[in-house]
Amino acid sequence: MTGPVLEAREVRFAYGRSAPVLDDVSVAVTPGRNLALVGESGAGKTTLLRLLLGLARPTGGAIRYDGRDLAPRDRALMREFRRGVQTVFQDPYSSLDPRQRVSGIVSEPLRSLGLLDGVPRDVARARVAEALRAVGLPEDAAGRYPHEFSGGQRQRIAIARAIACGPRVLLADEPVSALDVSTRVRIVDLLAELRETRGLTVVMVSHDLAVVAALCQEVAVLERGRIVESGETAQVLGSPRHPYTRRLVDSVPRLP
């Protein structure tokens, strides 16, 4: 049994002296087990994701990567962390620079992480092509601009960017909620597939319990900045113990 790859330990986050957005929150990402952070708007899901991404620092507690506390000064660790933890956003329109070609977008993490230093151009091109292929996009997509693609395809480009540097964890903020139902299913399938083929563990913020159930093995339910229930998805959503979780599960509209 390996330890968690990414972990929030008794994390607290507050703006100034106002009431904390997150209070004593602990979650652990086990390799190979996709985790969903579930809750309503204002519950602190997105803030927790930002902390896990290293975009903000917790006011209390710690974020740990590979068993080590994240410290912005530790450059070697931060580089390893940046390479190991990548992200996908909700809005496939805002997440791609409209003035860059797909090749530039997908190769950006590689360049920023210094993985292309001294690498011949055709090798770099091959890595972009490989990432595009992995997300089901044609190779000639590399030379095109984001606006030439549909929402679902854009989300695939964003996923290609995230997996290009071979990360271990993918943090995704509502990755499919802006997409049409049929596209949604395909992106969920793609993320599930990437777990199988690349050992990529997905940590997803979502309010859509169906998507959570389809993709994640584990769930943590947040309510007003605290985790009220967590564990196996089937366990938590199938027989919820906390009243809030129960209400959440009962609210999901079902097909007749």
């Binding site: 309503e40 708007s41 929402g151 049409d180 139902v181 049929s182 949604r184 299913v185 969920v188 309010h207 859509d208 319990l209 169906a210 998507v211 159930a213 389809a214 089937a234 959503l237 199938g238 027989s239 209400r247 959440l248 009962d250 609210s251 999901v252 509209p253 079902r254 097909l255 007749p256």
Partner: protein
């Protein structure tokens, strides 16, 4: 008698058909869902029914609204004055984002009072009582406080309830709801759907419900029309369409929704 009759509705802009030849009708008290993905033309169809198509778009075909007390109106051919008389009394609407439907600089109570004052001619104490009654009817917990608040001071769910209260203020014969719960949290969505369901049933109002979410549409309507790329590809009762879709597109749509829905089946082994 038919309350709303849409026949061969075509909406075009810049030589392109965004909606082509869509027909459906709603009986008094009936409930119809328009379902489709982005770009299907469902929202444009809703706007055409309200006579609110954006400039630069031309509509052909017929949209006839025949509400008791408001007379027969050819919505596409009617002038703005005639439409203004129809809106509110014969038909009113609730949209996806309640924050943009409300004036940010006006207290909620005054916004709800506006249609009551104009259409029902209420003043003073009677108007105040009517506003509170309207807010109470949409089951807002503390109507007095909400009436005094500005839109940004209340939650998204509360705002949508206020928007519903405003839409219902003049007892319209038809309520058009365009993705009214898409921006809301799941638990709030469930509450608002239950509210809409109850209000529409209680008043014998007709409902035209637009959504991309099959399960949500199935929750509140009886019949559905499936739109794709501006065309109606299938229509029928909710049960029929969800259980035995005929058109390949609907089959794909239902299969996708089913695929995700099935992931929630814990209890059934």
């Amino acid at each position: 008698m038919t309350l709303l009759d849409v026949a061969g509705l075509t909406i075009r802009t810049g030589g392109r058909d965004l909606v082509s030849g869509v027909s459906f009708s709603v009986e008094p008290g009936g409930r119809l869902g328009l379902i489709g993905e982005s770009g299907s033309g469902k929202s444009l169809t809703a706007l055409a029914v309200l006579g609110l198509l954006p400039p630069g778009m031309t509509a052909s075909g017929a949209v006839v609204l025949d509400a008791p007390g408001a007379g027969r109106t050819d919505v596409l051919g009617a002038g703005e004055r005639r439409l203004n008389r129809v809106r509110g009394r014969a038909v009113s609407a609730v949209f996806q984002e309640p924050l943009t439907a409300l004036d940010p600089l006006m207290r909620v109570g005054r916004q709800v009072a506006e249609p009551l004052r104009r259409r029902r001619g209420l003043r003073g104490r009677a108007l105040r009582a009517a506003v509170l009654a309207a807010l109470e009817e949409v089951r807002l917990a503390d109507p007095e406080r909400v009436a005094r608040a500005y839109p940004h001071e209340i939650s998204g769910g509360q705002r949508q309830r206020v928007a519903i209260a405003m839409a219902l203020a003049c007892d319209p014969a038809l309520l058009v709801a365009d993705e009214p719960t898409t921006a809301l949290d799941v638990t709030v969505q469930a509450d608002v759907l239950a509210l809409l369901d109850g209000l529409v049933a209680g008043r014998g109002m007709a409902l035209l419900f637009i959504s991309h979410d099959l399960a949500v549409v199935a929750r509140v309507t009886e019949r559905v029309v499936v739109l794709r790329d501006g065309r109606a590809v299938e229509s029928g009762s909710v049960g029929e369409v969800v259980r035995a879709p005929r058109h390949p597109y609907t089959q794909d749509l239902v299969a996708s929704a089913r695929h995700l829905d099935r992931a929630l089946d814990w209890r059934t082994p």
